[in-house]
Structures are given as C-alpha cells and as structure tokens.
Symmetry: C2
Subunit: 332 residues, 2 copies
C-alpha cells in the first residue's frame, strides 16, 4: 500500500480518461476566446500551468465508472470544463482576498497585473462556467452546480468570519472546508450520475464520496501548509501568516500546555505574523506530532469513502480508491 | 412632453407591476438567507436602499406588455430577481475595482467592511442569480442570461484597457457601454419573450429596444458625472477622477482648441486628478455646450427605440415610451 503514490495515481487516471480530457481542455481554450484581447491573454497565462485538474479529471472518471456508453456521451465533457472554470474563478478571487502572489508555481494575476484584473477574470470565468453548464442541457445538473457556487462563497465567508478565532472547533473547521472545497468535489462526482438520470441513492452516494474526498484533500492541503516540501513549489506558512486557523492548530491546542497555548493565541491575535512566530508554531507542531494526528483525522474520511466505492467494482473505481488512499500521503 | 419626468414615470411603472415587484423583492430577501450570519447581514445592508430597480421593473413591464396571461405567469418573477442579483454582483465588484465609497447614497460594503467582503458578496449574489434562473425552467433563457454575464465582464475589461486613453473614439465608447450596461437591459426586455416562446423577430426587437435604452441610460449617467446635481446623492466627477474617458470628454475633444486639448490630455495622463483639474475640464465642457451634444447623441437611440415600441400599442408600451423620453432629461 505504501508504494501507491498520489502523483502516479493522478497520471494513471489522466491516462484512463485522456481522450475526453483533451476535449475538455480544447473547450476551455475555446471559451477563453473573446474579442477583448486582454481576456484570452490573461486566460492563457492562468491556464499555462494546468495543475492537477482534479475536478474535470474526477468528473470524467466518475462518468466512465458509472456509464456503459461513456464513449458516446458529450455532456460530461462540457460539465467537466464548467467545473474547472468554477474552480479557476474561485482561485482568482481567493488570490485577491488572501493577497496571494504565487499560483501554480508562477506569479498570480493580481501580482503581475492587479486586483482589478483578477476580480474581472474570475467573473468572466464564472459566467463562462454557466454557459458551459447550459451545454449540459440538464436543468437538474445546472441546479446542483449553481447551488455549489453559492456554497463556495458561504464557505469563504465562514472562513473570513473565523480568521484569528482560536476557539474554532474541529467540527466548525470541517464545516468551513466542506463548503469551500468539498461541496465542489461532491458535485464533481455526482454530476455524471445526474446527467445519466441515475436514481437518487446512487447520486447521493457519489455526492458523499466526493464530499469525503474533498475533506481529505483540504485537510492534507492545510497540513502541508506547515509540513509541505518547499521544493514542490508550495508556499509554506501561507495560512499561518494570514491568521487562518486550520486543523493542525486546532489539534495542537488540545495537546499543548497552557503557557504555550497562551503564546500561540497571542501570535494569532496579532495583525501580522513573522517567521519567528512560524518557527515557534512549527516547533510545537513537531513536538506534539500533529502531522500524524492530522493524517489520522483524514483517514476517517477515507474509510467512509471506501465503503461507498466498494459498491462499484471496475477499473475506474479501483483507480479512484488508489487515489483516495494515496491522497493522504501526498507531499504537494 | 417637457412635463414628463423620469422619476415620476418610474413611479407609474412601479405601480403598474407592483404585485409582481413585491414578489420579486420577497424572493430576493429569501435568496439572501444563509446559515452564515454575515451574508444576510451584508445583503440586507446592500438592499436597504433599493435604488430604482430598473432591471426587474423593466423585465416585469415587458412581460406584461407582451403576455395576455401575465397574471398567471411565475417564471418572470424569478427572472426579474435574477437580473437584480446580476446587477448587484456587478456593483459590488465595481466598487472594488473603482474604489467606490458611496453606493445608493450610503457607504459601500468595501468602505464599511473591506474589499474581501465586497468580492465574496458579489460572488454569492452572482451564484444566486443562477439558482434563480434555474427556477425559470428555460434552458434558452438561461443561455441568454449567462451570455450576458460574460459580456458584462468583457465590457469592464474593455473599459479597464481604455483608462486614460484619450484617443478613444465614440464608437469604441458605445461598444464599452453596450457590453457593460446595455446588454443586461437587452436581456431584461427580451427574457419575457424567450420565456413565452415568442418568435425570434419579436425577441430580437425587444433585445434591440433594451440595448438602446441601456445605451441612453449610460450616456446620461456619464453626462451626469459632470453635470449632475449633488443634492440627489450622486458623486460628481467620479469617472473623471478615475481617468475614465466617457462621451462628454470624447465630444469635447472634437470642439476644443488644440492648446486646451493638450492640457486636457495631460490631465488625463496623470496618475491622479484633483478638483482644480475637474474645474478646468468642467469649464471647457460648459463653454462648448457639451451637455447639449451628449443629449443629442442619446436622442438618436431614443428615436430608434420609438420605432420598435410603435409595434405595441398598450398601456405598458406607452409607459415604456414615456420612460425612454424622460430618461434623457433625468437629473439623477
């Protein structure tokens, strides 16, 4: 089991759905076109580094997993492109909100141009996502996806309201990441079932699977903010510097002696944190072995997911299971 | 004709569709609900001053103008609420882009809270607009509206690309305001015809009517930025201070002697403009009677609109015609 690596699994999945992924990327390129030259320019810059494309990739994998006539379907391709545009829009607005300077290993749009361009490009991509959904020709699928979009904003608001809140409980943290991240994964896996008019039970199972995957994904992301590998291009300590309370800090506060907890709270109550502050937090996280705790926490969601996946028994469900297992061990 | 006043006409139209407008506003309130308390708090603050509600009002008026069974229809109410949410989202993002501090006579969200809240509330409202469109149960109508959303971003981008561009031609200016403002008015008037499955010719006529109305509306808005009445709560000189080249400046440059044109160009080429700069520009605008020129320019679109409206001959088309005529004379 230890030999299953996340990036390797992503590659295998990309290969499994590569024909349609190519079409998805072609559609994305087409929808970035505009008679206003700055738009394709910015769009191409943004998508130059494609990232893992987890959402379109998982949408297509789910579609192949549940549909016998997968190769004849076309609506799933439009939906997978729509998912990527929603994700891109949230990243563009996130970078404005969090003053992000690096995105996918290159300078962010707001850093090179400015916040205005990042807000407008996000709006453009958001509206393109709805045009793409329209190509799915399913009011039900559109209903689900437009609901997810507002859940993402709700998650962002909830996170914003809890900046520097050292009393944040782990269940409240799970609520935040469910809304801002996991709901889109839930939609990603269930949308193909909605398009295929599967029964509600199956739709709901795929939704839960996506939610669990999304929660795992975000927990690991938040853990890597402290324990990640700089070499992979991740910005370490970004959440910390912004005063975001994430799972590592929540679990640390449960173990740490009262004096150190007080010091940590003072650090998070400040308007800005520095490298010395980070070093203190990191030393405590290491001392109390919080990385291990975070991975165990994520593991609970893995087990739930495996139960759902057990109902399918094909190449795609196996690939998805391997991805789930390895996602807890990923380093970037 | 001179006795027809814009605000009075708006009131008459409000009265004509008041039953459904009430329902629209109820739906808006409902869709502002969220388990995240800050969202309805911000939403209620934003909608405390409702403004003219031109888009939902015109959508309902158009619906009544073309439908014999207007009173039985419900989808138009959802669409009119969707239009108001799209408009609200663009205002919230505009205020971030233009650093707006006053919106509808009260402090803007970005001014009281900050840019993050304004970006996220805009995203929330944008996604709610799509949920509302979904209630319209018409893929075709949704297709039109999602297209408009991306046109609005295109218009904003085009405007951004032309800040301080003193060579902007009047046709390029019309292109900008068509995209950023008039397209939404075009959709506003045509959506009821799409819902009612009217023929393409009628849909297209209503679209053109809306486009013309939107262009007039924006030309007058831009004219009032120089000639408006401070007492009505309008911020005078906002476009000027931001370096936006609008119709008054474009028309002025055609009349002004070369020396003064040079001075004006220097003013717009600066990073910031001050009250003295504004006073100079304003003195030139007055001297060359540019207000009159702007109104004549707008009048061309009024005449085109009247031709289209002539095909209808009922109470609603009369109200719409009076609104069009008076909109050129409005003071706020």
């Amino acid at each position: 089991m230890n030999k299953i690596y996340f990036n390797k699994n992503i590659q295998l999945i990309h290969k499994e759905i590569q024909g349609k992924l190519k079409k998805t990327n072609k559609i994305i390129d087409t929808y970035l076109n505009s008679e206003i030259p700055i738009i394709p320019k910015l769009g191409k810059y943004f998508f130059k580094k494609k990232g893992k494309q987890l959402r379109p990739v998982l949408c297509l994998l789910s579609s192949k997993m549940i549909n016998k006539n997968y190769s004849k379907l076309k609506t799933d391709i439009y939906m997978s492109a729509a998912l990527e545009f929603i994700h891109a829009a949230t990243l563009l607005h996130d970078d404005v909100i969090d003053k992000g300077t690096i995105r996918r290993g290159q300078k962010s749009i707001n850093e090179i141009w400015n916040n205005k361009f990042s807000v407008l490009l996000g709006d453009f991509m958001f509206s393109k996502s709805f045009q793409l959904m329209n190509q799915g020709k399913s009011l039900k699928a559109m209903g689900h996806l437009s609901e997810v979009s507002s859940k993402i904003s709700e998650g962002e608001f909830l996170q914003l309201s809890n900046e520097n809140n050292m009393n944040l409980k782990s269940n409240e943290y799970i609520k935040i990441i469910s809304l801002k991240t996991a709901e889109l994964f839930g939609a990603t896996l269930k949308i193909p079932a909605v398009l295929a008019e599967k029964n509600n039970k199956e739709i709901n199972n795929l939704y839960k699977l996506g939610i669990n995957f999304g929660i795992i994904f975000q927990i690991i992301d938040d853990t890597l903010d402290y324990f990640g590998d700089k070499k992979t291009g991740k910005q370490i300590g970004k959440d910390f510097m912004e005063g975001k309370i994430t799972l590592p800090i929540i679990l640390l506060l449960k173990k740490i002696p009262i004096n150190n907890a007080k010091k940590l709270k003072e650090i998070f109550n400040k308007n800005n944190r520095n490298q010395k502050d980070f070093n203190f937090a990191f030393s405590q996280l290491e001392k109390y072995e919080i990385k291990k705790d975070c991975l165990s926490y994520a593991k609970k969601y893995q087990i739930k997911s495996e139960n759902i996946l057990g109902k399918y028994n094909n190449k795609q469900s196996k690939l998805l299971k391997d991805l789930l297992v390895s996602s807890i061990k990923r380093q970037n």
